[in-house]
């Protein structure tokens, strides 16, 4: 049996209350939204907070407002099911709708939130295990130990950013609003992440992600492709988000390509995106862009399936995503389908 460790649960009704409570709890406190990441982790003793501040009771955090023409604000506690099925998200920010709809399973998408997904803990085969499993094999530095079991000589942790929504949000140029005791700030979704499996977020632990702000969708088209073993339940072992803005005659005026689950943070493939700028998408160009985009992907042996396969599939999935947006024939299907 997996039991939660003891804690006190607080259910603030307003953001101000929540900021006060999480500040007061200090290092003993953690925020929780849907709990679909945190509770399993607590049951496996990856976290043992003494105080939990639950965000779901704060009405304002659940809202989705705006239009694709003006831009959209999605409250951090909007559920993944709401994000995936919202008409304005589907219309203007398709990559995000596909990514949200590809997370976990239908009941978990009714519970899990967009904010929780963006703040998802990084993952590793040696970490996402029960306490007993980790104890038997020897603890690693992400929790309870002092070495990395994947790269034993390494001074750092290489656990993988495994959120589906983050690559999509970054490709769409999203920003996130953070509120803490020190006030409010807005950062780009890309800047929310650090290349460190342990301290993977740039925000302070007591800063609350309040909403995700999407820019006007004018002229942008986007998609999200997800690789995993099963067509459900599984976290991504590769996520590819692509957003393109094309001008007259199909010339690409702006492009963003972002890879998920290949490093401790989402990887923005800037050089690859640069190759399509000012060009028309041809099969040949797409092949070269996909090659360039997959170069920064350097998988380690800490996720499902083999390293070589995951590395090869980065190229294949970028190619498929670009072919889909270019209207060329492609294998497979976007989103989480298999």
């Amino acid at each position: 049996m997996l039991r939660l460790p003891p804690f006190t649960y607080l259910a603030p009704r307003t953001l101000e209350q929540a900021v006060g409570q999480i500040g007061e709890a200090g290092p003993e406190g953690m925020l929780v939204a849907g709990g679909t990441d945190l509770y399993p982790n607590m049951k496996r003793r990856q976290f043992e907070p003494k105080v939990l501040v639950g965000l779901r009771g704060i009405r304002d955090l659940g809202r989705i407002s705006g239009t694709p023409a003006q831009g959209l604000a999605i409250g951090a506690c909007a559920t993944l099911a709401q994000v995936a099925s919202h008409p304005a998200v589907a219309e203007g920010y398709r990559a995000l709708a596909l990514a949200a709809g590809a997370v976990s399973t239908p009941p978990l998408r009714n519970m899990g939130t967009l904010g929780g997904n963006l703040c998802l803990d990084t993952r590793c085969n040696y970490y996402n295990q029960t306490y007993h499993w980790r104890k038997s094999i020897g603890f690693c530095m992400k929790k309870d130990g002092d070495i990395c079991l994947v790269a034993p000589g390494s001074p750092r942790c290489w656990a993988l950013s495994s959120t589906d929504a983050a690559p999509a949000a970054i490709a769409l140029g999203a920003r996130v609003r953070l509120v803490g005791a020190g006030g409010e700030r807005v950062v780009s979704a890309a800047d929310l992440y650090r290349d460190d499996g342990m301290r993977y977020l740039s925000k302070a632990p007591d800063e609350i992600l309040v909403d995700v702000i999407l820019p006007p969708a004018d002229g942008w088209r986007s998609t999200y492709w997800k690789l995993r073993r099963r067509g459900s339940f599984d976290f991504p072992i590769l996520g590819v988000a692509v957003a393109l803005r094309s001008g007259p005659g199909g010339v690409i005026e702006d492009a963003r390509i972002v890879l998920g689950a290949v490093a401790s943070r989402p990887v923005v493939a800037t050089r690859a995106a640069g190759l399509v700028m000012g060009q028309r998408l041809t099969a040949d160009l797409i092949g070269r862009v996909a090659q360039a985009a997959s170069e920064p992907a350097k998988p380690l042996d800490n996720a499902d399936l083999t390293i070589g396969y995951r590395k090869r599939m980065a190229r294949v999935y970028v190619e498929r995503a670009l072919r889909e947006l270019a209207g060329l024939p492609y294998d497979g299907a976007p989103g989480g389908a298999r």
């Binding site: 049996m1 039991r3 649960y9 679909t36 509770y39 779901r56 976990s104 239908p106 009941p107 519970m111």
Partner: protein, 157 residues
Amino acid sequence: MRVRVRVNGAWRTAEVWPGASLLALLRDALGLCGSKNACEQGECGSCSVWLDGELVCACLVLAAQADGREVRTVEGLTTGEDLHPVQRAFVEAGAVQCGFCTPGFVVAVVDLLSRDPDPDEPRIREALSGNLCRCTGYQKILDAVRLAASKLGGSSP
């Protein structure tokens, strides 16, 4: 701590510890053992119940979070000895082997058919993609969904 939850139409009160899940509340405190406890970490769907009308995994909801809210479990589908049409379809299609996953599948199918009375195959697969079955190989469960849809008046055979 004391929680008060409306379960299958009736308000129930129970004393639980702050870390108790909704699943523990239902099974251990209220004696409703239809929802099964298997993985306790969102990996199987056998604990699925409706919370305010939405299907959730009861193993990952705190009992405290359900306080004052409406819960519907597999026990709430029928009264007395009569089976719900979806349950009958599972029996008739041979979709039950050990039966451990069955309550989770049944509520997922009821949920699906309430939103889409005549779902096509991809839609059925998607709706059941949060439930694992170790015995049946799923084919007969898919048969049961089609049978249930026809019993409930959808047009599938």
